[in-house]
């Protein structure tokens, strides 16, 4: 019994310490920001953007995230918890299109505007569920995919022939699907002679993407390009391709995270379609502020994307480069 009390007491001290470090000033409005997970640099960059914008706007923000991007119910619970803190706005990046709906419904009831961060909510479903979303903000994933296709066509030429591999995200994840879809549709338009021989889920997993690249190279030695729905997988694929001796093979990722930038500068990864998550976070807060002030914003706000290639990075001219973190 004594041990329990001791353990509890030490736990209390810990909790109090944590609590005080995260204490919020009561007088400023609090923005609630619900991420998918923090175990991904993308969301880290979003948070940095949020922080910068919150500082500019002189507001407090309160971040929560699930332990992984598959922990759906914990995210719903975290969402409910967040409502307890009575935020003035809920900026949420739902793990899937349905999980947060009951919580967002509740937010609507409390007259708290809901913002769909990174475009994870499906307007059709939110409509059915009666959830009102103030605006959706994020990179247009299909556009990002399309930009990847444009890059491939530009590099290989319009009439290039050969096989192309697409590595999607987690099966069922809308972001990955959109990117892959955007790539496929655009490729048909700009380089009709290139054929997509496979479009497989890589589960956002670097290792898995590397394996898929390897296996496809075995089957299709004429492979000329690989498009991956995120940078992590692209980094896996490029290493697999290079170690198979395919130095000319074009590998394109999406996100523009720091590892990808390093790889591009090192001349390994050909290009990454940067989503500028920092800008996404920043714009989300800025536009939320507008909404709260009674202003009008677009229902869908697209944050531009930028194709990072060695040339672009070394030229250092594009103004959007400032948002590549």
């Amino acid at each position: 019994m004594v041990r329990i009390i001791t353990a509890s007491a030490s736990f209390a001290v810990l909790a109090a310490a944590l609590g005080s470090s995260c204490a919020l000033a009561a007088d400023k409005p609090v923005y609630g920001v619900l991420m998918k997970t923090l175990s991904n640099p993308y969301w880290g960059a979003v948070e940095q953007g949020v922080r910068a914008a919150a500082k500019e706007a002189d507001v407090e923000y309160f971040t929560l995230a699930a332990e992984s991007d598959q922990a759906a119910e914990p995210q719903l619970n975290a969402c409910n918890t967040m409502l307890e803190k009575k935020p003035v706005v809920m900026i949420t990046a739902a793990i899937n299109s349905t999980i947060l709906l009951p919580c967002l419904n509740h937010a609507n009831e409390l007259k708290i505007p809901v913002i769909d961060l990174d475009g994870n909510l499906d307007p059709e479903i939110t409509k059915k569920a009666g959830v009102e979303v103030a605006f959706h903000i994020g990179s247009e994933n299909e556009a990002a995919g399309a930009k990847g296709a444009d890059y491939v066509a530009e590099t290989l030429g319009k009439d290039a022939k050969g096989a192309v591999l697409v590595i999607e995200g987690l099966s069922g994840n809308i972001t990955g699907q959109k990117r892959a879809r955007g790539f496929a549709n655009e490729l048909k338009k700009v380089a009709p002679s290139l054929t997509i021989v496979a479009s497989l889920p890589g589960d956002w997993d670097r290792q898995k993407a590397a394996n898929i690249a390897n296996e496809t190279l075995q089957r299709n030695p004429d492979l000329v390009a690989i498009f991956c729905a995120n940078d992590g997988m692209a980094l896996g694929a490029v290493e697999a391709a290079r170690s198979a001796g395919k130095d000319k093979l074009i590998v394109v990722g999406v996100d523009g995270n720091s590892d990808a930038v390093k790889s591009v500068l090192a001349g390994r990864l050909n290009a990454s379609v940067a989503q500028l998550p920092y800008l996404v976070g920043k714009e989300a807060v800025a536009n939320a502020q507008k909404v709260l002030a009674g202003g009008k914003v677009d229902e869908n706000i697209y944050v531009p994307t930028l194709v990072l290639t060695k040339a672009v990075l070394e030229a250092k001219k594009d103004p959007l480069l400032a948002y590549v973190k």
Partner: protein, 343 residues
């Protein structure tokens, strides 16, 4: 019931033993016949107090209390099934996946097959129970370790759920089902009522029926159970079917809560459920279980997560805290065992 009464010496006439007071009986029942430990209740109280202070004033409100209960409901139902399994010295790692699988099956039944809503409810529970029965049959009759069988089912059930839905949540359920997840009779969220009802029934089953008693005796001394005519194999099939069925029920509650069949639901819940069960005082090595303890264990997990969320502790630290709680609970469990031996 034939009771031997032998009239001759040295047995002598039958004598009534004095019945102890009701209060004593209660206490003995609560703490010795079940594995319930007053420490877990104390731990919950302390944790609540800590969170109240650390997350003032957000934690200690009625709506947050209901939040915690709501957040605990699916986990609690799963952990109740786990209590039966662990009491019988087994383990069921497939519960999280079965929760997703069953929810998806139920949603597809009403959405794609246009089944009436009661069928949807039954489909959830039966899908889970059948998968659980498969677990139990493989464990009891094919003598494959429970750990392996249920680990396999973890993968299979999750995979089937993803295949059935192509990875996309199936949105939209009939209102009566949605009410089970979102309704608030008397202002209390329906899942909370379902959890408490499940706990009450499970408690009675565990303590006051042969099924519950035998589950614990199998965990205690399987040979003795067998020798005394307990149909051990059949019991094991039923125990895992019950665990699967309750996972299915949790899947139903979850689907109703979010109005969708989500193939990614309940990921890694098996570990949280084991934690809640052990924290509640159920003997890790079988023989004794406590539903009351398990509910408290689940609440400890819920309070911990809710409190840490309110404080704004990063999810990384939350995982550390939950892991620490599990190890601490198992340590308590061992402590309890060695005390039992000394006595």
């Amino acid at each position: 019931m034939p009771i031997l009464s032998i009239p001759k010496e040295p047995f002598g006439p039958a004598v009534m033993t004095a019945a102890p007071s009701a209060a004593t009986r209660w206490r003995v029942r609560l703490t010795s016949a079940t594995a319930f430990r007053i420490e877990s209740l104390l731990a919950l109280a302390v944790m609540t107090a800590v969170m109240t202070v650390a997350a003032w004033p957000y934690f200690l409100t009625v709506s947050n209390a209901l939040n915690i209960l709501l957040a605990t409901s699916t986990l609690g139902v799963i952990a109740i099934g786990m209590t039966f399994v662990i009491s019988s010295a087994g383990i069921d790692l497939s519960v999280g996946s079965l929760m997703a699988f069953s929810g998806v099956v139920g949603c597809l039944a009403v959405n794609n097959l246009d089944a009436p809503w009661p069928v949807g409810i039954l489909a959830c529970v039966i899908a889970g129970a059948l998968a659980g029965a498969v677990n139990g049959s493989l464990i009891a009759r094919a003598a494959i370790p429970a750990f392996i069988v249920t680990l396999g089912m973890l993968g299979v059930a999750r995979g089937v759920a993803l295949v059935l839905t192509k990875g996309v949540p199936v949105y939209g359920l009939p209102d009566p089902i949605v009410y089970l997840g979102q309704g608030r009779p008397w202002g209390i969220p329906a899942p909370v009522i379902l959890l408490l009802a499940t706990a009450l029934i499970a408690h009675v089953v565990l303590i006051h029926t042969r099924f519950g008693l035998y589950a614990q005796v199998i965990g205690d001394n399987e040979g003795a159970a067998r020798a005394m005519g307990v149909r051990v194999e059949r019991m094991k099939v039923l125990i895992y079917a019950l665990s699967g069925g309750l996972a299915g029920f949790a899947g139903l509650i979850f689907a109703a809560r979010v109005n969708a069949g989500d193939p990614t639901a309940g990921s890694s819940y098996e570990l949280t459920a084991v934690t809640a069960t052990i924290v509640g005082g159920t003997n890790l090595f079988g023989g004794r279980g406590s539903i009351l303890g398990t509910v408290i264990g689940a609440l400890i997990m819920g309070v911990l997560q809710n409190g840490l969320n309110l404080i704004g502790v990063s999810s990384y630290y939350q995982q550390i805290a939950i892991g620490a709680v599990l190890v601490f609970a198992v340590w308590l469990n061992r402590l309890n065992r060695s005390e039992g031996r000394r006595r």
